[in-house]
Symmetry: C2
DNA sequence: CTGAAAGCGCTAACAG
DNA sequence: CTGTTAGCGCTTTCAG
């Protein structure tokens, strides 16, 4: 069942069917009704590929997710997918773990003829306006490293200031009297947000004249279990530790469980901070203090921006959203 | 830059380029190398739409997610997306909340020329082999209602026995001495897995001659907050309650927090069971007892089955995977 | 307002 | 082994 069949059954030309399909105004109401009726009766659905092949306007939006499919991205994804679909676009999700995020992005755009892409995570430090000049695709980078600071004119970004957010967390711990603060990062090699949060940690220590100790830096692999295991091992050796800052809530939960199992009372014997602002951390007992990222807003604004970019209603922009330090029973003064 | 350009530059015909692209064997090594070089030098990437338009073999696999993008689905999605991409397929993700899951599925298949679909969630009770006879798309339903029991010959499914799993949980609570057991469901209207778990709850009570009390059934909307609020309200009225079974871990966390805030000691004053087997529940303090679904396995097996269905290596099948009751400090005998 | 016809970029006969 | 060519189903001029 294709457009030709419909045209034949409805006794009109294919172009008329096409016009009806695309909501062009210059079709007689009567004809439109007839065509619509035939379409409905035959359950006809236009072939997307043919349409995309022909049009420059493919209505394809890609979502490129880098690395682990963490719950934080999932929440953004939820918002984004709703927005993209409501706007009548097709959403193509690609998940990768390649070295070169830029090449992956470029390939994705060409292959799928994307009109727009939202990248969740990844490292785009080497991205330049020259590279982007070759393509006319709208690009919004979400939650990526500080490429945003380069003020590229041919792409947009929505992010938070990771270094400052991390600084805020560590500073808060220090102001609560903590000096021996462990840091739970994800992977050892991380040139993206992990690195920036690492630097925020170091800076906060330095500003308070607290010496930095490499042994206090742990890598939990962004999973509960990793964080749990590393914390157990760590606290057995470093008994002077009074606080641990994990750069994701999921790891914070692992840290919390580890301290509890070691006999610490969370909040009293040890303070724990997370990062992201996930529900399950807020509803932990005690509530895990965290740096809350505006997840919903990040999703909403990235779709908004992308759609406005596509319709020419907006210019490329680099938007920094504010985070909020959410206090919780897991963090107390000493 | 298209196939014709490449052919011209490489001084060969388009079909040769096409053959190289598709790994056909009958190309002279020398020619292949030449073409490959030109492709690489020009950063040529074939247009997917044209390929899909032409081929029956579109290499498009759709993932249709129904309802909330919960963390449980996200985990499956992670596994699935990796599998689909490794097999060289394009993954098109669609997220919907329509009434009619079957029509949505059918439309999705036609529009995107899908060769296979994996449905996460949804209600396919009205699905029949007659409807499926019209399409030649491989379909794997994952985590859906008991349509699986109808033994459709033209689609597959991977699921757990929700009623029995729920029965197992409630039975466990009862055997631990609990008689006044609250049930935290998601939405009031639910003809899918929610209903089956509801029935498992009722059946367990009945088998132990415990009267069913409609007031003990709560609806938390599959969110921490909803579960939290409803539990607070509930426990203020029904002080005789000694256990609550939530049909998702995320809600169990909300329930746990509520009981803690009301001054209950979890595990001692009240027992809590979850469902799914998510990390953050296991790492809760105390660990939340749960019915662990084989998430990883569900993802893996659905991709496997789908790919084998596509290559003719497997027949449609309805697979029930086993769940496991994981004990935890949140549940104790009284 | 409507129809005929030219491709979009690719694959796969088919012919060499 | 390789090139020529006919469409895949659709949109979009261009004529009516």
């Amino acid at each position: 069942m294709n457009i030709k069949d419909i045209a034949q059954i409805a006794n009109v030309g294919v172009s008329t069917v096409s016009r009806v399909l695309n909501g062009h105004p210059d079709v007689k109401d009567e004809t439109r009704a007839k065509v619509l009726a035939v379409i409905k009766k035959n359950n006809y659905i236009p072939n997307n590929s043919a349409r995309v092949l022909k049009q420059t306007n493919t209505r394809n939006i890609g979502i490129l997710v880098k690395g682990v499919f963490n719950p934080f991205f999932s929440e953004i994804l939820k918002t984004v997918s709703t927005g993209v679909e409501n706007a009548g676009y097709t959403m193509i999700l690609q998940h990768h773990n390649n070295e070169n995020d830029i090449d992956t992005l470029l390939g994705f755009i060409k292959e799928k003829k994307l009109q727009g892409v939202i990248c969740l995570g990844g490292n785009f430090l080497d991205l330049t306006d020259e590279v982007l000049a070759e393509i006319s695709t709208a690009i919004v980078l979400v939650s990526v490293d500080s490429v945003t600071r380069k003020n590229l004119k041919r792409c947009s970004s929505i992010s938070i200031d990771n270094q400052q957010a991390s600084y805020m967390a560590v500073n808060y711990l220090i102001n609560n009297g903590h000096h021996e603060i462990g840091l739970m990062l994800g992977e050892v090699v991380d040139f993206g947000i992990g690195k920036e949060r690492y630097e925020g940690y170091k800076k906060a220590l330095a500003d308070h004249h607290i010496p930095f100790n490499e042994k206090y830096v742990l890598y939990g692999g962004f999973e509960c279990k990793g964080a749990y295991d590393k914390t157990i091992e760590f606290l057995k050796k470093e008994k002077q530790i009074t606080a641990i800052f994990a750069i994701s809530d999921i790891m914070a939960v692992g840290v919390a469980k580890a301290t509890a199992n070691l006999g610490y009372t969370i909040g009293k014997d040890i303070s724990i901070m997370g990062f992201d602002g996930m529900d399950f951390a807020t509803y932990y007992e005690p509530s895990i203090a965290t740096i809350k990222q505006p997840k919903q807003d990040m999703g909403l604004r990235s779709v908004d921006l992308l759609l406005n970019l596509l319709s020419g209603k907006a210019e490329n922009a680099h938007i920094f959203l504010d985070v909020k330090l959410v206090e919780g029973g897991s963090c107390q003064s000493i």
